[in-house]
Every structure is written in structure tokens, then in C-alpha cells.
Symmetry: none
Subunit: 216 residues, 4 copies
DNA sequence: TATGAATGAGACTTCATTCAT
DNA sequence: AATGAATGAAGTCTCATTCAT
């Protein structure tokens, strides 16, 4: 409606100008929050729109349907984070112990304690409703995450830091306290009076786990 | 499944039977399955009724509302299992190691691999929708389960089997691979080609965990 | 169920024995109250049954349907009262003025201030739903009532007490403050703080009306 | 009834039109008719919608619930008419007799013989279902109407036209033949073959009433 | 005769989606 | 590009009626 203003010089667009390119992201962000809070079926498109600062009709300009929006939320949000983890592992120079510890802490920092924690929670809740998306998530997120961790453990075995174990199983065991805490925070966060002490939980997990898998 | 009723004397079979005592249980069982499969909002009362072998109206003879049915599903199904675990711990004569191992295996046998696994999955998914029920579940199931396990670990510390650790944190860490596997089986069961090897997962968890927490 | 006890000597049956003959009347009485309070559509058969001290099924032993019950309520309840009024008029020996006054007061005593007031209220409310019953009511109650009053007025004209007026119109005008007060009491009874002063209302109506219609 | 919209330019007529301002009024009008015909409980929202030329969903764009619609019907429809009567009384210059007669005739012209007659009928029928609305109606319509008429009578007493009577009671008596005829027309209209002669009914009421209340 | 469990049609209401503006 | 009025399918819940007991 307003004539587009030339923005050659400034990377940040003026706040009063709504850019077409920003909309989808804003809608996806609003949808993530609401889908996580209420589940897919109980979330109203009108509420998503309101939270994104637009109206219902606008959502349909960018997404074909509620279902398409849900899939976009999952696909667009989580994959980049996995890639980040993989990059960390690849460039890491230290011991397997240190890398494992760092991956655990990074997971929490980037996912567990952020809004992204909603994605695993959401997939747990809605998996049966979206089989195709679930397959995607399982392959591109779950399995990839496990392989990442499995690679670290294998590194540790080869380096003599870790005992010889089934690396995929060990990887799942390294991740599961994180996964569970992530999902539990979403679900029971309001029931844990002072929050449960995550730091100690992570520390203890790392300590016990490394102790358990250590060569000697 | 239900034994066919003998009808030797009557030529026409009755259109329905009066089974006041059996109905609520059958309805709750049907509801559990569907709520787990589809979530609360996406489950239709008509489907619950059909699966329970009755009609919509009958469901309302026994439950005031869909919400009341949901609460009944959670409350009536899970609490007895916790009590069973507590009884096991109390009557157990062997070492803490053995008790911990047995509790882990029993959890899987009674919940993880049965339909009851749906309850934790359901609570994760619907916690925000039912705050009051969530509080109940958190107090009567989650916390009680953690305390049970914490008692075992404390026993092990006192007996010199385990290192001195924060018992509640250690308890959560002992449970979390179970919780996560339970929920994951519900969500991703169909994605794991031959199922993932649960036996090895449990064995390895017990081994690594006991190794990690052992005095020596 | 209990063997019938011989009651040769006592006219009053023992309270513990429910007699088949009493049932329909009890149900009709309960139905009248509830139909009046809530209207036909909003009245539940189950409530009628409960107030009558029986269960739903029993209502259907005596009445074919909810509609049949409604018709029974109207037909059985109101007609006898009209007959009473006609008898009064026929046997009355005094002046037309006195008879008119007495009919007005009797109407209030027998209908206006009793539960029977519900019948006119009910017919006003449900006339469109029961055209056939309405026709019956209009012919057997409304018109008959008007004719009764018209006869009185005619008597007064002939005796020289009243002016010459259209007797049916004058009859309706004599009745309408009664009808309206009857219906209004049902509807707005709870809104009139100390009740409105019916006695004065009746007195004034009689006075003004007789004054208005008087020869002189 | 609605003027057809010119469509010279478009080959296909639009499936619906956007008429935000007109809808509520049309829906209220349709609802009034149906509520009056069938009563609140027996009226289906779908029928209201159809008669208003919209679909069920549209009704809920403008009214929160069936109950809210009912209240709107009563509140929005009747109050303006009362105000009209009050204005008439205030600006009237002639005698009390003439004003009383005119008010009676106006009542019939504006309410008794129009669709608005349904409102009193409706309130009679549904008062018990909507206590709060009934209170509103009683205060803002019934009582206000009575006060209006009481003022006229008081004027007549002061001017020496009328005898000294309880003005509120006399007011109610002046109104009740109107109220009753209004409600009766709604209920029994179809039973009165050639209609009953309203003109004569009103004339006679005015004549008898004024005769009855006259000083001499 | 009496019960009340069971039925099933139908009501109100919600909300994803469409489309006139 | 954006809006939001309008739609209509679908879900929850109610209740008159039936019928096994």
C-alpha cells in the first residue's frame, strides 16, 4: 500500500515499515509458541494471527493451511540447530570427554532452556497426527542427533577414554536425560517451585555418565 | 473379546445389554488409547464410544464431560502402578544395586512397554490444558516416583554401595532414560524399523548408571 | 409388590402403599408445575418424573409422549373449574352486580391465586406449538368463560342494572384485568416486592367496572 | 424485500455480501418472530439464521449465544417505544381524558397490532428462564409504562376530571385490557375466525373506563 | 408395575477456510 | 498485500424414548 522505500544504505529497516519478507517468520514464531502451549488441535489460527500482529486472512497468504503452518514450524525451526551441533563436533579439537560435556551443555543452552524446547515437546505430542512430518523429524533430527553423539563416543573409544560399548545405545543414553528434562520443563515447569536445579542436574549427569563410560 | 452371551432361549439377540459395572472401565480404556493416539482435542467422543462398544449418550451416563473423562483416565490408571513400585521397594531384601535394577526393569514391564506408557505421553502433551490435573500428576506420580527411587539410592549410599550424591538428582537421572524411552516409543514407535532394541538399552543404562554411581 | 391390604374400613389408604390409580394425577400435577416454570420445551421428563416421585419409565406407562402429557395437563385440569363457574351463575339468586362481583372474586380465589393460574400462562406461551389443543382451550375455556360472563351482563341489562352494551365485548373487558393479573403474577411475581396489592386491584376493578357499566 | 444489488458488471453474482451494519438488525428481527412463534427453547438458531438470510456462523459473529440474542431482542426492541409514549404524554396539551384515550390507541397502534406485541408475550412465557432480563423488563417497561399512565390519571384527578383513586392501581386497570388483548392476539389470533373486533374492544374499554373513573 | 441403562437424533457452538472489499 | 465478514462442516452435549431386567 505504502510505496516501498529505498533501503540501499541501511541494513535495518525502519520499524514502521512492514516488510513482506518478515511476515512468515513472525507467523511461524507465533505459531510455535501457541502450538507448544495448547497443542495443534486446540490452537486457533485466529490466535496465531493475533499474536503475530496480523489477521487470519494474512496467514493464508503465506501458508496453505493450518497443517502446512505446523510443518513449517517444525521444519524451519529445528534443523539449523542440529547443523550447529555437527559443526561444533567437527571443529572440536579436545578430548572426547570434553566434547561430550560441551555438546550436553550446548544442547541445553540452545534448545533445552529456550523456546526451541517446544519442538521436541510438540513432536512427542503430535507425532501420530503427522506421520510424514514425524518421519522427517525422526530422520533429520532424532537420528542425526544420535549419530552426532555416537560419533563422539566412538572417538572416545578409539582414543581409549571410553570403554567399548554399543555407541548408538550409549548415545541415546547420553541424550535421554536432556530430552526428558527438555520435555518435562515444558510440561511441568509451573509445578517445580523454584524450578528444579538444572545446573546440578546437568553436572551430575555428565559426571555419572562419564564415570560410567570411562575406561577405568 | 467379551464372552458371547448365551442366547439359547431367545430367538432375537437383544440390541444392547445392561452392564453398569463394566462400562466405565471399558470407556476409560478406550479413551486412553484414543487420547494417546490423537491427543485430547483431536479425539472425538463418538470414537471413544464406538471403541468402547457403546454410543455417545452412554459415555455421558458415566462421565460428566470429555474433560472429566480425561481426568478419570489419568487418575484411575496410573496411581495403582506407583503403589506397586513402592510395595516392591519396601519388601525387597537384597542389595540397593539389585533393587534399582529391578525397579528399572519393572517400570518398563508395567508401564514402558504397555498401554500405560500412554499416560506419561499424554501428560506431557496436555499438561498446559489441565493445570489442576497436572499438579495432581506431578505430586502423585512424578514426585512419588522420584522419591521411591531416591530412597533406593539413599539405601545404597548408606550401605556403602553407592557414592555420596544428591539423591533426588540421581533418582531423576536413573528414571529419565526410562521416561524418555517410554514417551519416544509412543511417538516414534512406528519410525523405528525393528523397534529399537529395548533390552540392550535397559541393560546398558543399568550398567552405565551403576558403574557411574558405584563407590569404587 | 406388597400384597394389597384390605381397606374396607378406612377411606384413607396407608401412605406406604402406592396405588396405581394415584399415579397419573401425581404426574400431571408435577408436570403442571414444571411446564409452567420452564415452558414445554425446557422441561425435562426426568424432572417431571422425579418431582412425581417416580422414574422416567413410569411416566411412559401412563402417557404416550411428552406432548400427550402436556395435553393431559391442560385438558384435565382446567375444564372442571369452568363448570364450577357456570354452576355458580345458574344457581345464583341475587342481582347481576352481585353475581359479577362474586364471579370475579371466585376466579381469583380458584384460579388466579392458585397453581391453576399456570394453565392460562402455559396456553399463552405454548399456543403456537399445540394448535389443536389451543383450539380446544379456546373453545372450551376462553369462549365458555366469556359466555358465562356475557350471560351475567345480559342479565344486568335486562334487569335495568347495566347500560346496553355489546355483551361479549363487555364480558372480555370484565375478565381481562383478571387474566392479565393471573398471567403477570406467574411471570413477574418475583419482581413485585411485597407482591402487588391484589385485593385493592380486584376491589378497584369491580368498582370502576360496575360504575362504568351502570345505567346511571 | 431487500433491493436486489445491481450486478451489471459481474457475470457471476457473489455468494454473499458484506453487510456488517445491517446484519444485527435483521437477525434480531428474525429472532423476534421465531422466539414469539415457538418460544425460546423450541427456536433453533439455524432457523433464525435462515430467516435472516445468513448462516448459523454469522449469527455468532454478532451475538455471543442464543441467550444473548434473546436478551438483545427484548432490550433493543421495546424500550424505544416506551420513550415514545412518555414523550407523547409530556407534550400533550389537551385534557386527561383525551390523553388517556390517545395513549390507549397509540399502544395498540404501535405495539398491540404490530410485531412488537410479541415482546410482552415472550416475557410472559420466558420470565422464569431469564430472571435478570425479567427484572430489567419489569423495571424499564412494565413499571415505566404504569407510571406513565398513573401520571395521566393523576393529572385527571387534579384537573377534576377523574375521581380520587389509587393512581397506580387505576393505571394498571387502564392497561390490563390492552396487555391481555396483546398477548391473547399472539396466542389465540388464529382461533378468532374474523379476528375479534379490536376497534370495538378499544372503544368500549375507553368508554367504560372513562365512565367508571369520571368525577360524576 | 416399575426401573434406569442405553440409544440416537438433534441442538448449540466453534473454527478452519474462503472471498468480497 | 491485507482484511475480516461469511460460510459450513464437525464436535460436544442433551434428552425424549425404548427396552432389558
Amino acid at each position: 500500500m505504502a510505496a516501498p522505500v529505498s533501503q540501499a544504505k541501511h541494513s535495518a529497516s525502519p520499524r514502521w515499515q512492514r516488510r513482506k519478507e518478515a511476515r512468515p517468520g513472525e507467523i511461524v514464531a507465533a505459531a510455535l509458541e501457541l502450538f507448544v502451549e495448547r497443542g495443534f488441535a486446540a490452537t486457533k489460527l485466529a490466535d496465531v494471527a493475533r499474536r503475530a500482529g496480523v489477521t487470519k486472512g494474512t496467514v493464508y497468504l503465506y501458508f496453505d493451511s493450518k497443517e502446512a503452518l505446523f510443518k513449517a514450524v517444525v521444519r524451519e525451526t529445528i534443523v539449523p540447530v542440529i547443523a550447529q551441533g555437527e559443526a561444533l563436533a567437527q571443529s572440536f579439537a579436545g578430548s572426547a570427554r570434553e566434547l561430550l560435556e560441551q555438546l550436553v551443555r550446548e544442547y541445553w543452552r540452545l534448545i533445552g532452556e529456550t523456546k526451541l524446547a517446544g519442538i521436541p515437546k510438540l513432536m512427542m505430542a503430535e507425532a501420530a497426527t503427522f506421520p510424514e512430518l514425524t518421519r522427517f523429524y525422526y530422520d533429520e533430527v532424532v537420528t542425526r542427533g544420535h549419530r552426532l553423539m555416537a560419533g563422539v563416543i566412538e572417538r572416545g573409544i578409539k582414543s581409549g577414554e571410553f570403554r567399548s560399548v554399543d555407541v548408538m545405545v550409549a548415545a541415546k543414553l547420553a541424550m535421554s536425560p536432556l530430552m526428558h528434562a527438555t520435555v518435562a520443563r515444558m510440561a511441568f515447569g509451573s509445578c517445580m517451585p523454584e524450578g528444579f536445579n538444572v545446573a546440578k542436574y546437568l553436572d551430575t549427569h555428565i559426571e555419572l555418565y562419564l564415570h560410567g563410560i570411562a575406561k577405568h
